[in-house]
Homo-oligomer: 339 residues x 2
Amino acid sequence: MIRTDKILLKHGSGGKSMATLVHEIFMRYFDNSILSEKTDAARIDVPNQKLVFTTDAFVVDPIFFPGGDIGKLAVCGTVNDLAVTGAKPLFLSASFIIEEGFPVTDLIRVVKSMAKASAEAGVKIVAGDTKVVHKGKCDKIFISTSGIGTIGLKQIPIATGKRMKPGDHIIVTGYVGDHGTAVMAAREGFNMQIRVRSDCAPLNHMIQRLLKAGIDITFMRDATRGGVATVLNEAVEGKSLGISVNEQKVPCRSAVRGFCELLGFDPLYIANEGKAVIIVRPGDALKALHVLRKDQYGRLAADIGTITRNNPGRVILQTQTGSQRYLDMLSGDQLPRIC
Amino acid sequence: MIRTDKILLKHGSGGKSMATLVHEIFMRYFDNSILSEKTDAARIDVPNQKLVFTTDAFVVDPIFFPGGDIGKLAVCGTVNDLAVTGAKPLFLSASFIIEEGFPVTDLIRVVKSMAKASAEAGVKIVAGDTKVVHKGKCDKIFISTSGIGTIGLKQIPIATGKRMKPGDHIIVTGYVGDHGTAVMAAREGFNMQIRVRSDCAPLNHMIQRLLKAGIDITFMRDATRGGVATVLNEAVEGKSLGISVNEQKVPCRSAVRGFCELLGFDPLYIANEGKAVIIVRPGDALKALHVLRKDQYGRLAADIGTITRNNPGRVILQTQTGSQRYLDMLSGDQLPRIC
């Protein structure tokens, strides 16, 4: 239940409060079966063609950060939302809300970055809109992208995770926490000198290779706001299955680990923009890792845990010290404007 | 050429400066043939199916105004962008950027309004996203909607106006300037007591009726930012055709006329959110008016002018006093945040 009469930062943080907001307000009033699948991209039935359609708003602060910028993010975020459904991303739209006084050079830099990321992903930005608001009425630039992808008529639905079974393996495609760490460290007032770049990247080609290799994927999602822990919680939420994650197997840079320890964060909750959580049948795990590790964005893919019968609906972390603890969904406003 | 090193309000006003910005930055770097058609909605080739895909950001201030709100606007704006291409709007996405502290009750009101407008238009909102930013980093709420529509495989391209000929008639579907007047009058600091409500409405059903009646439409666009005058300029821009408009025939409420006179505006430049400019073959004009006038949103449709061989690329207004003047494209920042 929404317990406040005002929208708070936590309502946009990707965690519990946002889930409540989406459920109680947007899903309630927009009420339709496609939306209520609660996947990142909508699967649309069109005669002779399955389409996938998704949208995201990007408000990252700062807009330029090591490894990327708001433009690259806006393209990769939407491409990845399409890709993890098993779709081939094809077309994007982009709408811009720009603050009066925003430097044209910065806009060009952002737009070029979008063009470059689009070219790499193989998508076209085919529709757009621009609004400019008075100085102080938005913060530099916000970008909303929507995307359309096509999906094979016989493609099994992946994003809902309905086919997951106990024993399925959980793969994360590389280092966790790079994006969130890079953005936070670059934020005004922080000014920390750490050598971490955002992992922002389009994952669609890598994922298509995985599908073409015939890997039986039972759940797949990119781990953005709320991090890997949030995606894992979403995977088993409301199901009679649990998840066991081996902390020692989670790939994480020491710089990210150090940054998180300093600030009291857990890297598993830190946003990524080029990492997917992929759940596969036990017999396909090694093959999946093999395919992923041949890709530039999956070189450090790791098998981090399994689907369990125990702890239905919950994610259990087997810590490095040998103890166990629950990995709950992110609650509160840990990291606003990380994407 | 963009002559400033900063984005100014006029870059988002729908006029010349925005056209420059779009051409020099977005079209340049996103470079693809679909985008360069410069229509409001992208026509996408998908095997066995033509799709139309569009996007718009909505930043209207105030968010509630007589006759509508930002939510109704966000749905109708995108539905109408699809409809004027000849498409049947089917699916929308909506992404929200919300200011910390925004009242939940207001959000519910906006979302309900979106749901109502979607139901009337017969579209489904199938994807969404929410971001919340710190207080003062955006102004209450911004909404970006994208839309997908389907279009008959044999539908002739309407939006480019390439089939227009001298003698074609220009129809506007009702009173001009209602939306912009209603929003401006409701704006803080204005507080004018005039009885004008926004015309915000989904026009897709009316337009589909027109197409089903077999009307030969050679150009069609909804007259939003920049008003009817801007759309007319877009229709003949770069073509060897001109436009002659009879001011006396342009339907406009006396309250809107009075408001505009007071503030030095021309109603032909004021934004509408439920009006289309439809150009048809001379022999179809009466039939088109007949079909339009049977619809609740077209009761006051009027034939306001013709396509001419004279004045190529220009729009000439035959004024009520018998003189003539050019109706140029809107330049500058007449009305920021009107939609």
